[in-house]
Amino acid sequence: MNATAQIFDQGEYNFAYLDEQTKRMIRRAILKGIAIPGYQVPFASREMPMPYGWGTGGVQVTASILGKDDCLKMIDQGSDDTTNAVSLRGFFEKTANVRTTYETSEATVIQTRHRIPEKELREDQVLVFQVPIPEPLRFLEPRETETRKMHALEDYGLMHVKLYEDIAKNGHIATTYAYPVMVNDRYVMDPSPTPKFDNPKIDEMAALQLYGAGREKRIYAIPPYTKVKSLDFEDYPFEVQKFDKPCGLCGAEHVYLDEVILDDKGGRMFVCSDSDYCEERRAAGHVGPMAANPAAQQIGGHGTNAEEASR
C-alpha cells in the first residue's frame, strides 16, 4: 500500500474527491443526457481544486463514474504528458487511487480535452470530454433563454448562418475545431474543442461519450452507436482535414498530425498528435520518413518516458 492509498483509506478524501451526494446528482444528469442524446443537461457544478479551464466539468464527470477497478487515461492535445494531463491524472491517482495508463486499449475511462484517440474505442470504454463552451448557438445568439427555445423547437437555421459566413469569408467552411454536429437527428451539439478531424469518430462510436462543462454547468452525452452528423451544405459537404504527408516518426497516414519544430533553421516535421498511437506503431516496427533524423528521434524520445510513467 503506497502513501496515496493510505491517505484515501484514512478518509481524508472521499473516493474520487466528490462526496457521494454530489456524485449521485451528477450521475442523474449523465443518465438524463444519455436518455436524450445531445441535449445539454444543467447540473450544479461544484468547486473543484483547480481553476476553470482546467477541465473541471470533465473532472466532475470522471469522478462520478470512476470505480475502484477502472483504469484511467488522461489526454490533452492528444498527449498524455502535458502539464494539464499530468496534473489531472495525478489528481485521480491521489483521490481515487485508480490505475492509470497511457495506452488507449488498456483504459476503461479516458478523459480528454481535444482529441479522440486514433485507435477505435470499444463498448467497455467511456470517453469523457472537458468542454469550455457547450452551447453551439452562443456564437450568434448570446441570450440563453433564446438558445434554449431554439433547441426545444429544433430551430437551427442559425447554425447554417455560421457556416454560410465561413464560406462567404473564406471560400470554404473554415471551422476546424468545435465543428457543430446533429445528434440522433434531433439536437445540434458542439463537440467542443475537438478538431473536426475527429468528428467522424463521434458518429456510431462503440464507446459511451460524456461531455462536461464546469463553468457553464452543463453535461451532455452520446450513447454508443448513435448517429452523429456534421452540419454542412450540399455544395460544400463536410470534409476532414487532410495531411499530405504521413507521420514523420511512425509513417501513419489518415491520422491527425501536429507540426513540430526540429531546429532553429526551419526544420520541421509532422507527427501523430496521438502520442500513444504513434509509440505503439513504432514499437510494432513502423518507421516514418523522418525516423532516422537525430532531432526527430529526440522528439520521439518521450515514448520511453511515457512507458515508464505508465508502469
Binding site: 423547437l153 448562418v161 469569408k169
Partner: protein
Amino acid sequence: MNVFKADDPLLQVHNVPRYYGDRIGCTDVSFDLWPGEVLAIVGESGSGKTTLLNCLSTRLAPTAGAIEYRMRDGSMRNLYQLSEAARRLLMRTDWGFVHQNAADGLRMNVSAGANVGERLMAVGDRHYGKIRETADDWLGRVEIASDRIDDDPRSFSGGMRQRLQIARNLVTHPRLVFMDEPTGGLDVSVQARLLDLLRRLVADLGLSVVIVTHDLAVARLLSHRIMVMRHGRVIEAGLTDQVLDDPREPYSQLLVSSILQV
C-alpha cells in the same frame, strides 16, 4: 385602388383587449384584413397602436378575444392556439416584421447575404450557392449593390439597413408583413426613397401589411385603409383617403390638421 385578390379575409381580429394590470394597452379592437390590403394603424404614442401590433404578430398575448389567421392551406386558425413551434414557423415564413430600429430586426454581426439567407436556412435550404444567389437577387430588389453582400450591416447607412431588413423579411415570400414605424428616425429624403420602395414591393408582391405609424403622410402613401387609435381604442376607421380628407371624429380632425400644418 382595388388590389384585393380573394373573398376571404387573411386575418380576423375579434374583440381583442390587452391590459397591463389595470391599465388598458388596447381594447375592443375588431377588424378584418384582406389579402393584398395595407392597413395603417395611426395614433400618437401611448394610443395603443404598438400594443395592438404586438398582439397581432403574436409577440404579446392578448388578455382575451381571438385573432384568426388563414393558413396557406386555407384553414382559419386561432393564432394563440397554435403551438409555439407552429407560430415560430409562421413568423419565419409566411410573415414578416419590420422594426423601426433595423438593429432589432437584423443580425448586426453577420453579412448582408447571411441576414437575407437566414430564413431560407431556417426552413431547410442547404445549398450555399442557391442561398447566396437568392440573397443577391433580394439585395438587388431593395437597391443594395451586389458587392455589399459580404459586408455586415454595421457598415450600412440607416436607409440601407432598413432596406436590408425588408429583404431579410421578404425572402420567403410572406403573405403578411407587420411594420412598426419603418421610416421613423430616417432623414426625409431617405424616408421618401424607402416609401417608394415599400410601395412598389407591396404592390408587386401583393402583400398584406399592417403598418403602425404616427406619420399620416406614410399612411396616405402606403395604406388602403386606416384605423385611428386613441387611449387604447379604435376611434375611427375607413378608407385612407376618406379618413384623411374628411375625418369625422374631432380627434382625427386634430391629427389631420396637425400634419397639414407641417
